[in-house]
Symmetry: C2
Subunit: 307 residues, 2 copies
């Protein structure tokens, strides 16, 4: 469903954030390279759009109201992923003249690359990264051709002809709405039960569906679809509104699980591994930029395991 109108301009939200940071409209205008009246007008438009008083101008300098503070905090949750998007698209654009060429599978590119890029940027500002995406097979071909310095793919098995190492664990999980029976069940979920319950699944042909079906079939178990959806988001929405239990990558649901919109139900006797594997050439050693990225990834995954 499209956003509810009217939608505030993100640059105005960013400007408001700068006002909060710098303490005056004037300074905020300067930092955004626009004139002071332009900034003043943008903020006024923002207040009109949201129908809220965000700034108190009655004491010389502009002062944020409590509504203003709240909007700034909420805006930061919007602006951070927007920065990630900008970094990601920049990497997609940068075909040549980069110090580090990365090939990544879709899932990795979606959920992990933006965070890595952002931290890489703060840790090593000079580094220019280019990104190529595709499915895991495609990434392996890119690596074999030598068209990328480093790659990230999903899969429990190492590809032949390339060095590889698991850098991050991931797996498919069963998710339900908090109101679903399974969210409060006392007996553990079994693979057999999963086989006889109609499930909300990704479409046939997707990597997620394939891993799930293959693993189940290996155990001689069937899969009964309740709904087949073409996108991760659509699937999450369906499960949130309690259509039934769904299957998705743990990476894809981590934020919803964190704030309680979705609940993970762990089956006791089956698991669906989709670990993330770092891939590099057997002939050439990793370059310095690649090493820096790897170190960064390992720092965070080490901690993630301990939490």
């Amino acid at each position: 469903m499209p956003l509810a109108e009217p939608v505030p301009d993100v640059r105005s939200l960013d400007l408001l954030r700068s006002v909060a940071e710098l303490g005056s409209i004037r300074q905020a205008a300067i930092s955004h390279n626009i004139s002071q009246p332009a900034a003043s007008m943008r903020l006024r438009t923002l207040e009109l759009t949201l129908d809220l008083q965000l700034l108190d101008r009655s004491h010389g300098r502009a002062q944020l109201t409590s509504a203003g503070v709240a909007v700034v905090r909420w805006s930061e949750e919007v602006l951070a992923p927007l920065r990630d998007l900008l970094l990601g698209t920049q990497a997609l654009r940068a075909a040549g003249k980069t110090n580090l060429r990365v090939a990544a599978s879709m899932t990795v590119a979606e959920y992990l690359i933006p965070g890595w890029l952002q931290r890489l940027r703060t840790a090593h500002p000079g580094l220019l990264v280019s990104l190529q995406m595709g499915n895991s097979q495609h990434c392996i071909e890119i690596m074999t051709r030598g068209d990328a310095d480093i790659g990230f793919i999903e899969g429990s098995r190492a590809p032949r002809g390339l060095s590889s190492r698991v850098v991050r664990s991931d797996d498919l999980v069963v998710i339900v709405a908090p109101s679903h029976d399974w969210a409060r069940r006392s007996t553990p979920l079994t693979a057999k039960e999963l086989a006889v319950t109609p499930l909300v699944l990704r479409e046939v042909g997707s990597g997620t569906r394939q891993v799930f079906e293959t693993t189940m079939r290996l155990r001689g178990l069937d899969v009964v679809p309740l709904l087949e959806l073409g996108s991760t988001t659509a699937l999450k929405s369906a499960v949130e509104s309690d259509a039934g239990p769904g299957i998705l990558s743990r990476l894809a649901v981590q934020s919803e699980v964190r704030d309680g919109r979705l609940v993970v139900v762990a089956p006791v006797d089956i698991s669906f591994d989709r670990s993330i594997r770092l891939v590099w050439s057997k002939e050439r050693p990793l370059g310095v930029p690649a090493e820096q990225l790897v170190r960064l990834i390992e720092e965070s995954s080490t901690r993630a395991r301990q939490l």
Copy 2:
């Protein structure tokens, strides 16, 4: 720091998302209540802005390229918090004629209210919520006056004259950059060590600073500021660039911790409680809408404890 220009329009990102969902520009245009050429032009502008080919128009219907898919996924991370912001501001605006009046402290309003509102909307679409914000003391006054049906404040002690119950745990945590020594320390952190280390702190007068100092002083320990910052974000940035260890609410750092930008170091012999407490009138029982919100909160917090 302001966003890197050029910034794509969020409504265009939302439109692209609809194209992915509905399979054609035309349908997406209809769902956004604009003409098909307007949609076509917006998407073209988006492609120009990002300098990426997002759609393949060479086969009749528009088909997303791999870059297009990636942009859609990244956009969803932007659009979800933007929806939260819209819901939040809507609640701030809705002064009268609502079924549920909520009073919340700043921290609760920032980090918890948007998620609750979104889930409330899907679970009970008819419910109109209004929100009043302030510090915990202010919220208690609002509740005492009967100007709100239900309130959320921070603090380990129950306010007098009102019924209350802890619905969510929160506490202050010590955070460091992943590259900081403490992220890999083998010996546990002690309160005494915390007292002699210069720390990145919120400014004097903030709730965070107050809880931290009071708890430390009760143990006869001092606090040495290395940097004093006026916003949560500024503090996080400083700690991320390894200025030193910082002190913040766990709620405020959860997303950064999750993706490894920050690391929590748990002191072994001290804790800084800031639990979230539900508050209601002793005279009037909770109404039906308030009960629905409470049930929703307890569903998610139950699960959060188990994870």
